[in-house]
Every structure is written in structure tokens, then in C-alpha cells.
Amino acid sequence: MDWVLFALIAIPVGAVLVFMLIPSRYPQLVRNVAVVSGFAMFVLSVLVFVKYEFGGGSGLRFDLQLDWLENVAFLGENGITYHLAVDGISAPMVLLTGIVIFAGVFISWNIDYRNKDYFVLLFLLVSGVFGVFLSLDLFFLFFFYEVAVLPMYLLIAVWGASSHFGTFTRTKEYAAMKLVLYLVGGSVLIFIGIIATFMEAGQGTFDLPVLGAVTYDENFQKAVFPLFALGFGILAGLWPFHTWSPDGHVAAPTAVSMLHAGVLMKLGAFGILRVAITLFPEGAEFWAPVLMTLGVTGALYGAVSAMAQRDLKYMVGYSSVSHMGFVLMGLATLTTIGVNGAVLQMFAHGVMTALMFAMVGAVYDQAHVRDMTLFGGLAQKTPRLAAFFAIAGLSSLGLPGLAGFVAEFHIFVGTFRAGYEWAGVLGILAAAITATYILRMLAMAFFGPFNERWAGLKEMRLGEQFGGALLIVFIVFMGVWPAPFIDRISESVEFILRV
């Protein structure tokens, strides 16, 4: 089965090569290739999730290790290997990526401007995302991390949209540059951390299981943990380094926002868990209160900021910051239930925020404005769009029966159990604010008296409906039957936390 892991990265890369060979006068062919490879990735990611075998231990499955660079210079026999595997945490993340990219292909259907280049970059990004989730070698983890960040610049700058606020304009170029600089800036810290860890371990390898078996000096752990936590944290929207995220997500084209808020931000949280917490448990313990404080602050700050937005997309962008704050809270608890909740929230937020961005995109494509006060009663004209948006919103505010509830419940229980009562209270407050802004937005834009200006509005395209429905299936699935997720996640979390 380890070929699946190889294929998950090879398919998007192969698709990139195929796109490049297709002459740009065949845009439809490009779309067809994108759908086929998107479907293949979706099927394989479901396969990885379903075929995951329980059996304790490290939780690593489908281990695949290929030589890359060895016996050179400072590297030992196992120097750098192309080492792929899934564990209980990456399995749901891989599934999430498969879902979002498959849905994203349909959402990107009507991109006409240089759609070939667009899909080249989009699939390159996806190969990076899969690579990070699957890599067990620090070198390749970092490698793919950068591969995932790099295409964002052009995707936003070329296919994105600037936002006009009357008095000033947030250009897409600005947003793209800000996003890339923040994220690559974070990766500087990660790079330094990797070099330091490699030397401290003295194993001559970047293999994570080997590095994980080493016990590091306590002071070293305390020094290096923040490098990784902050470096990956920037991508996870860690407050106060989150400001790239609303700007970047708003400026990006719809499918890229979906992937970025839905999946890429999870890479950051995943990196904290996979590298920082796994390798440096004592460092994590030392820094957990700080991480908790920043997480809660982010959750509250994001929620309050979302409250203040009139622009639909900015609201979703800030709500992402808020929800990623919950994820960081969950990680900072360092308890099984809390970290479980964090991973659940990564998945839940991934699908629901992707759905929200897709729906915002569907509205914007027709209306060309995103100011919610200009809308009103859209549900009469576009009932499905309104319903989809409502489901995403309700999941976001933690309605039982949908994905968000399961995740947030775990996180709050974990927060209280770990002794951060104050943080738990503030977190619940943030969730309450979430409910306010989501319901207010639904009331303003989709319900209430119909605004005649939008009489010409049509229902979503079929592709958008399909993509949205796919995401909803998983929101509901996780909401009513979270066991398959929790079983997989807790197995690996227990191993990482050495419970």
C-alpha cells in the first residue's frame, strides 16, 4: 500500500507536467485533466483514510523510504531519505486535502484567464501540501512546506482581486507579497531550528522517528521549541502574526482561498504537532502557557474582528484566524483530549471554511460586491447557496450534529482539564461571538426583506453545487459520526504525548 503515498505526491506533480505540455488554446482539456487528477487524489486520500490500520505503536502506516542523499559530508548512512508515512493525525489531514482539492477544481471551473498556468500552480501547491503531511524526514518536510508556500504569490497576484474600501485599496499584489514574506519569514525560523536539532541530535540523519528517539537537553528544548512553534505558528495564523491571513485569503481567487484557509493553515498546526511537540516535549510543557495565551487571544481577536467586518470574505478570513486560535489552544493543552480536539478542529475548520469561501466566491462572481449590508433576502433567489452557506456557518459556530461542535467540545474540555479555566471561559466567549457574527451575517445577507437590486441573481453553477455538496457530506459525516476520526487521531496523539 505504500505506493499510495508515493502516488499522492506523484499525481499532482504529474498533472503539473501534463498541464505544461497542453497548448494553452485547449482550456477545456486542462480542466478535464484537472478533474481526473483531482478525482484520483480524492479517491487515494479516502483510501488512505479508510485503509488505515489500527495497531498502536508509533501509528505510522504505509512506510516508504527511498534514499536521497547519504554518506556525504556530515550526513550518515541514512542522511536524507525520501521517507513517507501516514499516522493517525496525517490520515485525516490527507483526506481533508483530497476533499478540498477535488472540490476546488470544480470551483475553479470558470477561470478563463491563463487557466493552464493557474492549474499548474494550484497542483504544485497541492503536491507540497501532501508532501508535508506525508514526510517523515525533516528535510523533505521543510522542502514541501516551501513548495506549498511559493505558488501562492503568483496565484494571488495574478488571479486574485484587490479590495476597495473607499478611502483606500488593499491591492492583491500587496496581499500576495505580505503573505509570502510572512510565511517565508516563518520558515527562516524553522530552518534554523532544523539545523540546530540536527546537530544536537548528532545522528547524521533528518529522519523524524530517529530524531524523535533522542532525548534532548532541557535547555535546548526550551530554546528550540519557540523556533518551530513560531515558525509553523505563523502559517497557522498565530496571533499577532496572523495579519497576512485575512488579507491573503481575501485577495486570493476562490479555490486558492479554500485551499489556503482550509488546508495550508493546517500545515502550520500540523508542523507544531509533528515537529515541535513530538521532538521537544519538555520545551512544549514550558511554552504551553504562552501558546495557550496566544491561541486564546487569536480566537477572541479573530472573532471580534470578524464581528466588525462588512465584507463577507474578510469576515470569513477573520473567522479563520479565530478558529485557528482554537486549534492552537487545543495543542497547548498537551492533553490527549485537547490535542485530539485540535486535530479534529483542523479537519472541521478545513471543510467548513473551504465551503464558506466557495459560497462567498459564488456570490461574488455574480454580484461583484461582497458587502453584506448591500445584500438582503438572497435566499429567495438562491436557496441552495443560502442553505450551503448556512450549514457552513452553523458548523462554524459549533451547532451539534455538525463537524465544528465535536472539535470545539474536545478543545474546551481539554482546556479545562489542563487547568486553563480562564482560557476555557474566554474560548467559549469567542465561540459565542462567532455565533453572533455568523447569524448576523446570515440574517443580513440571505434572509430578511429581499433587495430588488439582486433580482437577476441566479443559483450557483452545477460545479459549485457539487463541490459544496461534497464538503457538506464530510461536515455532516464528522458531526454525526466522529468515531472514525477520533480513533485514528487519538492513537497517534497518545503516542506523541507519551501517555
Binding site: 542523499l69 559530508a73 522542502f143 516551501e146 504569490y153 497576484a157 509570502v180 519569514g185 534554523i192 539545523i195
Partner: protein, 494 residues
């Protein structure tokens, strides 16, 4: 001591020297020969010298105790020969359209390759100095080759004056070293430095500082970098490429050999010195590059920044192993390939438009998609992004520096790699987001695109699977470091 006077060892150099003369004569006596055909002849000569150099792979001998013929030499002979090939091919159209006296132009390129070869091969200071001068003089003349362009003359003059100055400093340093150690041979200098009587010697230290300053000028390390922007901007574009590829690579081949062989016993004394220079160089180069509006000046400052990274490899040298040396050479190879890809792309663009401001690249992605893609790949590689050569080679180089207790330097280097991404992105932004001056596509120059494709393939090869290149490079580095070992100055690793 018996001297080995096997003249055949220098065949690749004969080919280059003969080829240089032949190209000049061809131009002189065969009037019907087109200028670009001369470029192909010169490229063939450079290629022939590179291929001939393969005969001495895994050989370990020397010529008259002056010139080492080992894997290090073989590696650089091939490498420099190939740089020469690309420099000639990239010049073909440019020279045909814009310059006079093509024969001498290509002759000088071949002579500069010859000088570079001998710099890597030299095993004693005076030979090294003479070959350095051969390279430098060829480049001075080539820099001012656009006779009727004021900037070219200015750049050439500045380059020559500062170059002559630095040569004098270098020569003075050689004198000091000779005075202290009693020899100009690298291995004997090393032996005298590590003998029982050796200690900290002021004259030795001064000599070392002078040599670092002299070489610092040649490779454009801060604070000896002032000539670079003007020379880069003034020189005809292919010559800018040649300075930044061949000049830099040859400079570092000699830098590495001097410090890896002759001065390695004093490594603890000069490590911090080089490390600080390296940090200053990468800081200044990368920060000043941000403000540039001219693509040549941008590349000049970015190449200064790159010198800072390369110097890390010198600072990380250790008598115990050849790690840092191989990491440095690997990065050098990766850097030169990426840099050549960038320059070839810019030369092609210049051939079409005759413009060199960054704003002139607006809309290049629509008028020449392949060119814009290749240029972006080169830039991303230079800034150390994954998939491309720069990422793998920098990773190894930074790690090698960290191994020698220079984690602080590696951290600074990582930070400035990140800064460099910013100004490369500015150019990429122009190409992909700017509005083209005209909507028409450019015609496809097949030859140049072929050369570009080869370079881009090299960038990907090193970026995705560096093992084979690393193995080759390591052979060279080990051979180079082995000399110091054989001189009894260094104990072999257990």
C-alpha cells in the same frame, strides 16, 4: 627534487590558448565568416578543452611543482570549460548585433577560461597570481568592450584600477607569506605553519589579511565590492554573466584552495574573520539589492550577497574533513548554473528589446512565457527555494557551517536568503503582472532557448537529486584537502 615536466598534462590549456589565437586569426583572414559563427567555434574550443580535461580524472600528479593535476583541477577544468561554452553561445547574437571585433571578444573569453583553469590548478602562489591576472585582464578588456558606450568605458576603467590595486595588495601578501614560511608552495606553507616553531606571527597575520583583501576584491566581498555594480552595469551583458559566473567561480576555486591547503593550520585564527566578512557581505549585498531599478545592478548586488553565502564555506573549513569544501563547491556549481540561467534569459530579452530596467520586463510572461518561466526558476533557485538547485546546496552549505560552530552565521544566512526572495519577487511580479508594452509575441531563438533549457535542467537536477553531482564534487574537494594532509600538517580523520 625531480620535476615532472610532462608537458602533455596541460593539453586542455593548449587547446584554449590555440583556440583563442585561431578565433582571432579566423576573424582576421576569413572575412566571410559571420560573427555568430565565431561564437560556435569558440564554444567548440571551450567544449573540447572541457572534454580533454576528462582524461586526467582520478589522476594525481603535478606539473613542475607548479600545477596540480588532480580531481580538483579536473573538476574545475570541466566546469570552467562549460561556463565558457555557455558564455560563447549566449554572446552569439548579442555580439553580432551590438559589438565590433568579434574575434578578439571570443579570444579573450577563451583566455579568461584558461586563466581560470590555472587558478584552480595552481599549487603555488606565483602561478596562482599570474593566472589570476590573466583572468582579470581578459575581463577588464571585455568589460570595456562596448567602445562607444560611456558606461562600459567607465565600468572597465573602474574595474581595472581597483583590480590592479587589489592585485598589488595580493602580491604584497604573497611577499609577506613567503617571508615567513620560506616557500610559495601551498603544501610547504602549510608545513611551515604547523611546525613546532610555528606560533602567532604578526607578519604572517598581515600577509593573511592582505591576501584576504586581495581575493576579497576579486570575488567582490564587502568591503571590497565597490567596483561590482559599475562593472556589472557597464559591461556588455554576456560579459556581466561571465564575470559573475567564471570570475566568481575561479576566485573561489583559488580562495578555497589557498585556505584549504596553505592556511588551514591557522584556521582558528582566520575563521571568525572570514565569517564576519561573510555576514557583512550577505547583509550589504542583499539589502542594497532591494533598491535597485536596473536589472544588471540588481544582479550585481545579489551576486555580492551570494558571495557572502559562498564565503561561509571558507569559514567552515576544517582540517578534519572535506565537508565544507565539498559543500562550498556544490553550492558554487549550483549558484553558477542558476546564475547563468538567469543571465542567458536576460540576454535573450535584451536582444529583443535592448532594455535593461526592471520595469522593462513588464508583461514578459505574456510575450515570452518560456523565458519568464526560466527566469523565475533561476531567481527562485538563487533565493534558495525548493525544487531548485539553490535549496539543496544552501541546505548542505548552511549545515556544514553550523557543524563548525557557526550556527549564528547560518541563521544570518537563512535570514538573508529570505530577504533575497523579496527582490527577486519584484522582478517576477513585473514579468507576470505588468502590462506588456506591445502585445505581440517575441520570435523564438532556438539556440539560446536550447542553452537555457540545459541550464534549467541542471537547476532541477541539483535541486531534486543532488547525489550524483555531490559525489563528483566531493571527489574534487577530497583531493584538494588531501594535499594538506599529505604535507603532514593535518591528521587524517579516524
Amino acid at each position: 627534487m625531480e620535476l615532472n615536466l610532462d608537458w602533455s598534462l596541460l593539453t586542455p590549456e593548449y587547446i584554449l590558448a590555440g583556440g583563442a589565437g585561431m578565433v582571432v586569426l579566423l576573424d582576421l583572414f576569413w572575412g566571410r565568416l559571420r560573427k555568430d559563427q565565431l561564437a560556435y567555434v569558440a564554444a567548440a574550443v571551450a567544449l573540447a578543452s572541457a572534454l580533454t580535461a576528462l582524461i586526467w580524472v582520478n589522476d594525481d600528479t603535478n606539473f613542475a611543482n607548479l600545477i596540480d593535476i588532480d580531481n580538483y583541477t579536473a573538476l574545475f577544468r570541466v566546469f570552467f570549460g562549460l561556463i565558457g561554452v555557455f558564455a560563447c553561445l549566449a554572446s552569439a547574437r548579442f555580439v553580432k548585433d551590438r559589438l565590433l571585433h568579434a574575434g578578439e571578444y571570443y579570444g579573450l573569453i577563451l583566455l579568461s577560461v584558461l586563466g581560470a583553469n590555472l587558478m584552480a590548478a595552481a599549487s603555488e602562489l606565483l602561478t596562482a597570481y599570474i593566472s589570476l591576472e590573466l583572468l582579470s585582464f581578459s575581463l577588464y578588456v571585455l568589460t570595456s568592450y562596448a567602445k562607444f558606450d560611456l558606461r562600459s568605458n567607465e565600468g572597465g576603467l573602474k574595474y581595472m584600477l581597483l583590480g590592479a590595486f587589489s592585485s598589488a595588495i595580493f602580491l604584497y601578501g604573497i611577499g609577506m607569506i613567503y617571508g615567513v614560511s620560506g616557500s610559495t608552495r601551498f603544501s610547504e606553507i602549510a608545513a611551515s605553519l604547523s611546525g613546532d616553531t610555528a606560533g602567532f606571527d604578526m607578519a604572517m597575520f598581515l600577509g593573511l589579511v592582505l591576501i584576504i583583501a586581495g581575493l576579497g576584491f576579486k570575488v567582490a566581498a564587502v568591503p571590497f565590492h565597490m567596483w561590482t555594480p559599475d562593472a556589472y552595469e557597464g559591461a556588455p551583458l554576456p560579459i556581466t554573466a561571465l564575470i559573475s559566473a567564471l570570475g566568481k567561480a575561479a576566485g573561489f576555486a583559488l580562495f578555497l584552495k589557498l585556505f584549504g591547503q596553505a592556511f588551514i593550520p591557522l584556521v582558528d585564527d582566520w575563521r571568525v574573520f572570514i565569517a564576519v566578512l561573510s555576514a557583512m557581505t550577505m547583509a550589504l549585498g542583499n539589502l542594497v539589492a532591494i533598491q535597485q531599478r536596473n536589472i544588471k545592478r540588481l544582479l550585481a548586488y545579489s551576486s555580492i550577497g551570494q558571495v557572502g553565502f559562498l564565503m561561509m564555506g571558507i569559514a567552515a573549513l576544517t582540517p578534519e574533513n572535506a565537508d565544507a569544501a565539498s559543500a562550498l563547491v556544490l553550492h558554487l556549481v549550483g549558484y553558477v548554473i542558476s546564475n547563468l540561467a538567469v543571465f542567458v534569459a536576460i540576454i535573450i530579452y535584451y536582444n529583443w528589446t535592448g532594455k535593461e530596467e526592471i520595469s522593462d520586463f513588464a508583461g514578459a510572461a505574456e510575450r515570452a512565457p518560456y523565458l519568464a518561466l526560466a527566469l523565475s526558476i533561476g531567481f527562485f533557485s538563487l533565493s534558495g527555494m525548493p525544487l531548485f538547485a539553490g535549496f539543496a546546496t544552501k541546505f548542505i552549505l548552511f549545515q556544514a557551517a553550523a557543524e563548525q560552530g557557526l550556527l549564528w552565521l547560518s541563521s544570518i544566512a537563512v535570514f538573508f536568503s529570505f530577504v533575497s526572495l523579496y527582490y527577486y519577487l519584484i522582478v517576477i511580479k513585473e514579468m507576470y503582472l505588468g502590462k506588456p508594452a506591445e502585445p505581440t509575441r517575441f520570435p523564438t531563438p532556438w539556440l539560446e532557448y536550447g542553452a537555457l533549457t540545459l541550464l534549467v535542467a541542471g537547476v532541477f537536477l541539483i535541486g531534486l537529486y543532488p547525489q550524483p553531482v555531490f559525489d563528483i564534487v566531493e571527489e574534487g574537494a577530497v583531493a584538494m584537502m588531501a594535499v594538506a594532509e599529505a604535507a603532514g600538517t593535518v591528521t587524517a580523520p579516524p
